[in-house]
């Protein structure tokens, strides 16, 4: 319910913002001497750009309901069909990266939390601080440079030439191979923050009074960590899960553009440059949708891991 309201709010806000931005797709045409003012005028009327804002919003909503999500002037077709394959590719990238990032961050952060004040602690503090300070763009370009220099991994795109002709297994392998670099960029971009957060949450749980009580009962240290501290740290970690998706998604747009991954990112950029309004709105809505989905998932997980929340809802 809350999510639906949010979605409506985002759609309205982004629609108004995009519409209020100076210039439109056809304004560019006016600069072209071969196209007459009258033609531009007619085109604008045809696509309803001369109508007042509320009416345009209403029309766009109607096309949303049909799954068309408006009309792209540049492509001359509804936005929906342009968007779906891109969304799928972005999902492939971000879901893989999210899974990998968490699979790395949880064990590493937990281990780190048990190593207070030692060489490992200092090393990890330094390493994560360095990675956190590194701008995403520098990281992505650095990886790209590495790939170009070594030739180990493809530096762009999602498939090789002749992908369509490959047998099924080889096609999966091909895509996986192309995934390596952008996923590595995303994981390296988000893992430092995640690891620090996991470490802080687990360390927090290890300092809790019930952990001291468990130790006071002679519970072995491994069990204290896995059966007391980790379950108690699950709540903050799951809450972060939704947020981590947001960070990953926004970084993913950048990575996709630089590494020419055919996801929402390049489409978004292209649409903005062309002032192709409805095509700009598509990725915005899709991203909002993904974030809402992530948060919903986090809420469900939270209810599954935390008995206190389950009782509240009952």
């Amino acid at each position: 319910m809350h999510g639906l309201l949010l979605l409506a709010g985002v759609s309205l806000l982004s629609f108004v913002l995009v519409e209020l931005a100076p210039g439109d797709y056809f304004a560019e045409m006016r600069l072209d001497p071969r196209i007459s003012e009258a033609t531009v005028h007619a085109l604008r009327a045809r696509y309803g750009l001369d109508r007042p804002l509320p009416e345009r919003y209403g029309r766009w909503l109607a096309s949303l309901a049909k799954g068309e999500l408006g009309y792209s002037f540049a492509y001359g077709q509804p936005v929906g069909p342009l968007l779906w394959p891109r969304l799928r590719n972005t999902l492939l990238l971000t879901v893989t990266a999210t899974a990998l990032a968490w699979l790395l961050a949880v064990p590493l952060g937990t281990w780190w939390a048990t190593r207070r004040r030692g060489p490992a602690d200092a090393a990890l503090t330094g390493l994560t601080a360095m990675l956190l300070a590194l701008p995403d763009l520098v990281l992505v370009l650095g990886l790209l440079l590495l790939a170009v220099r070594t030739g180990w991994f493809p530096t762009g795109g999602m498939v090789s030439l002749g992908h369509e002709q490959m047998p099924w297994g080889a096609r999966v392998k091909d895509v996986a191979f192309h995934l390596v670099l952008p996923v590595a960029a995303l994981v390296l971009g988000i893992v430092p923050a995640l690891v620090r957060y996991v470490r802080a949450s687990v360390a927090d749980a290890l300092g809790a009074p019930f952990v001291r009580a468990a130790r006071a009962h002679g519970i072995p240290e491994r069990r204290v960590l896995f059966r007391h501290a980790l379950p108690a740290a699950a709540n903050p970690l799951v809450s972060l899960f939704g947020l981590s998706l947001a960070g990953l998604l926004s970084m993913s747009l950048l990575v996709e553009v630089v590494m020419s991954w055919p996801g929402l990112g390049p489409l978004f950029l292209e649409a903005i440059l062309a002032r192709d309004f409805h095509l700009v709105l598509g990725p915005v809505l899709a991203s909002t949708f993904l974030l809402l989905g992530g948060n919903l998932l986090a809420d469900l997980l939270l209810a599954a891991t935390d008995p206190r929340i389950r009782t509240e809802e009952r």
Partner: protein, 327 residues
């Protein structure tokens, strides 16, 4: 024949940053005999919790045992390895913490939290540990142990949680339980119930109990001996009737005047607000060179500012640390 627990000259410092170390426990000695209930009394910050934590080697990193010895059944606990200490905790010596609500893991059912204490010390099957947990839950007064077993801590009342914590502490039949104000956070009816429960369990299992409490009613009913602590030191020790009826040390007198008595049988419902001892307890980082209570003491004598008084043993078997009685 040594006592069950013998603490000698125990001194614990907290170091924080670069200031002078805070002396939380200062050359403290005490004995607890097999099956004996020893009450420990003293105002907030005098070092009671620190003392209990030090006995079980549970002090935080900022605390250091500077000197002294802690012997349990003649065995020096300060030199035990981590594994040996782990084997002792919960099995031979248990502790009940000040805040029972916080001593249970909030995201796990309470039954398994009792069973795991058994499992940590006995090579029993999972099933047998569970049965033992259920019988311990019955032992601490639950009429439906199965239901409690499957509850989460937040589904239980404060008194019920404290019963679970007692079941954990008792699960491996330790010889000694250190209890840190086990009833302080409960309402008075529940307090009375738990006080009765502790007494019953103590005599049933022949437990020795080092009981930190400001509940004079509980101490009078349960304790064989009462110790009064001030600024990390014991200032007075004796039987409960001796200490409560006729406190000797000026601090004990002030403290007992300040503590609410057990409900007046005459039935005066209005609670008199007891007059507190004037002044504040000294900063543990800057203890005075003489008696730590001297700045607040109504009966101070010339030597009080010069050196700390020594413990004096009186003819009736009581101990007091004050120049009024020799020093």
């Amino acid at each position: 024949m040594p006592a069950l627990l013998e603490v000698r000259d125990l001194t614990v410092h907290y170091t924080s940053g670069n200031g002078a170390p805070a002396v939380a426990v200062d050359e403290l000695s005490l004995d607890v005999e097999e099956g004996e209930v020893v009450g420990l009394l003293g105002e907030s910050g005098c070092g009671k919790t620190t003392l209990l934590l030090a006995i079980l080697g549970l002090l935080p990193e900022s605390a250091h045992v500077v000197k002294g010895s802690i012997r349990f059944r003649g065995r020096e606990l300060r030199t035990l390895s981590g594994a040996e200490l782990r084997g002792l905790r919960g099995a031979e010596v248990s502790i009940i913490f000040q805040e029972p609500a916080l001593a249970l893991n909030p995201v796990r059912r309470v039954g398994p939290q009792v069973a795991e204490v058994v499992r940590a010390h006995r090579r029993w099957s999972r099933r047998r540990c569970r049965e033992e947990a259920l019988s311990m839950l019955a032992e601490v007064g639950f009429t439906a142990p199965e239901r409690v077993h499957d509850s989460y801590p937040h589904e239980l009342s404060g008194g019920e949680r404290q019963r679970v914590v007692i079941a954990q502490a008792l699960a491996c039949r330790p010889a000694l339980i250190l209890a840190d104000e086990p009833t302080a956070s409960l309402d008075s009816t529940t307090q009375a119930e738990l006080r009765a429960l502790l007494g019953a369990l103590q005599s049933r299992f022949g437990l020795a109990l080092l009981l930190v409490s400001h509940d004079l009613g509980a101490l009078a009913a349960l304790a064989h001996r009462v110790l009064v602590m001030y600024a990390g030191r014991l200032v007075e020790a004796g039987g409960p009737t001796q200490v409560f009826g006729d406190p000797l040390h000026p601090y004990s007198r002030g403290l007992l005047r300040a503590l609410p008595r057990a409900p007046d049988p005459a039935g005066s419902r209005e609670q008199r607000i007891p007059p507190p001892i004037p002044g504040m307890s000294p900063d543990p980082a800057h203890l005075p060179p003489g008696c730590a209570f001297e700045p607040r003491c109504p009966d101070r004598l010339p030597p009080c500012v010069e050196r700390p008084p020594q413990e004096t043993r009186l003819a009736d078997g009581r101990h007091v640390r004050c120049f009024k009685y020799g020093g």
